[in-house]
């Protein structure tokens, strides 16, 4: 593996000069690369990217999100997905292609205030995202504790190939459902939920530190003895 150089950057800060490929959160002015967000800049042979430490959730196709039903019409539900855009869940994707507003009633399936775990199926800049609940584990969320973190910190909570989430799950006997939009649902015994919430809060506040994994492990093992 080639070497990756990291540094802290603020918007407008010069990251590097030369022939690189801008990957994300970087602008190129002549041969200079500037960060456009506060975060960690990574310079590697692939190019330059900035891992942001704050920012809104911008939907991406295939993202799994946790949303709250806020309204419904005859053909779709409106879902708040903690983003600057409301998402729509079309009734056809829930009731099937033969859906007819005469036969089925939307609020009987999901009413306002219900939480759903859903997948973003289409989104582009011109239209609001459309969700789907067809897929394993998707659909209404019956129970659990909801925790909100900054959407920019979700990748860190998941960890490399899900390592962080596995650590938290096995130490607390809880199941964590993570929405890419920064909403996390914890299901499990009450003391486990408490510990998992603490761990998630720690990930949020120490997301940029190299010592995070160690700190989380000591939090989880320390509290287990108590």
């Amino acid at each position: 593996m080639s070497e990756v150089k990291r540094k802290y950057v603020t918007p407008g800060e010069l990251i590097a000069t030369g022939n690189y490929k801008p990957i994300s959160n970087v602008i190129k002015v002549k041969d200079n690369f500037y960060a456009i967000k506060i975060g960690l800049a990574e310079i590697s042979h692939e190019g330059i990217r900035v891992i942001p430490l704050s920012g809104p959730y911008i939907p991406k196709v295939d993202d799994l999100v946790i949303g709250k039903i806020v309204d419904y019409s005859a053909f779709s539900w409106e879902v708040d997905i903690n983003s600057c855009f409301f998402a729509y869940l079309p009734a056809q994707s829930v009731f099937g292609r033969n859906f007819s507003p005469d036969r089925e009633s939307l609020p009987e399936r999901f009413s306002i205030g219900d939480l759903i775990y859903a997948k973003v199926v289409t989104y582009d800049r011109t239209r609001n995202p459309i969700l789907s609940i067809s897929g394993h584990g998707l659909g209404q969320i019956p129970k659990g504790e909801m925790v909100k973190i900054g959407p920019a910190k979700v990748p860190r909570l998941i960890g490399k190939k899900g390592s962080m989430i596995k650590t938290i799950e096995s130490a607390t006997n809880c199941r964590l459902i993570i929405g890419q939009n920064g909403i996390i649902l914890i299901v499990g015994p009450p003391d486990g939920v408490l510990l998992a919430t603490q761990a998630i809060r720690m990930v949020e506040s120490e997301a940029h530190l190299a010592s995070l994994v160690k700190d989380i492990q000591s939090l989880l093992s320390g509290s287990r003895e108590v």
Binding site: R6, T10, N25, I36, L40, S54, F85, E206, A210
Partner: protein
């Protein structure tokens, strides 16, 4: 007539001609806002809050290709020595517009189509140069909110008092002085985003004032940067994804 510069070359508050007032910036002071900051520039105390991007209300104001930036500069009734009525005055509406236009070039609004970004500036105590301090604080709050920015924006005023060119005028100097030149720049891209001049300056005085204001902006930028670094990174080693 007030003596603005004494025989030792010091200004009424004891500063030299090229000296800034004490400056302090804090990031993330408001929990409910998406991004926030607090600035103290001399006796100025300003809180900046950023909300957004979020859906636009009323809906017809939304733009299909980019976000709408809205700014509200407001002075608290207790911010000046004679109570200021709380409703937006002509001056506040104008300054809101000026601040918005100073920040707009730095923001990549095309990234958030059909949304709005709202900036609220609350002046708790005013002492001249509050529009500049407001711009500086807004830029920090926008960065805290994680909105894509080409560069930070920093503002500082220069001016002429008692025939001498000085920087960072306070209230008395602004009122009694001969000229006031507030500017805002994007320090890394080296571009000017706000440029106002009130009063009369000779071309060479103007040039001197402009250069002094630009170098003051660079000093303020360092404070902005440190405030952000301090909030987000504190101490500790850079981690990995």
């Amino acid at each position: 007539m007030v003596e603005l510069i004494n025989e030792k070359g010091l200004r009424i508050d004891g500063r030299g001609v090229d000296e800034l007032r004490p400056l302090r910036i804090e990031v993330g002071v408001l929990k409910n806002a998406d991004g926030s900051s607090y600035i103290e520039m001399g006796k100025n105390k300003i809180v900046a809050a950023v909300y957004g991007p979020k859906e636009v209300h009323p809906k017809h104001l939304a733009l299909p290709d980019r976000s709408v930036l809205r700014c509200r500069y407001h002075m608290a009734p207790f911010s000046v020595d004679v109570r200021k009525p709380p409703q937006p005055s002509r001056r506040e509406i104008e300054i809101s517009k000026v601040i918005r236009e100073a920040l707009e070039p730095a923001l990549i609004l095309e990234e958030y189509p059909r949304t709005a970004i709202n900036i609220y500036l609350e002046v708790l105590q005013a002492d001249g140069g509050s529009r500049c301090a407001g711009i500086t604080a807004s830029a920090v709050a926008l960065a805290d909110a994680g909105i894509s920015m080409r560069d930070m924006v920093v503002a500082c005023a220069a001016g002429k008092i008692s025939g001498q060119v000085v920087i960072d005028l306070d209230d008395t100097e602004d009122k009694e002085g001969d000229a006031d030149l507030p500017i805002a720049i994007m320090p890394n891209l080296n571009q000017v985003t706000l440029f106002q001049l009130d009063g009369i300056m000779a071309p060479e005085e103007f040039e001197k004032a402009f250069n002094m204001a630009v170098s003051a902006c660079h000093q303020i930028y360092e404070v902005q940067r440190e405030a952000l670094i301090d909030k987000y990174f504190g101490k500790g080693e850079a981690g990995e994804e």
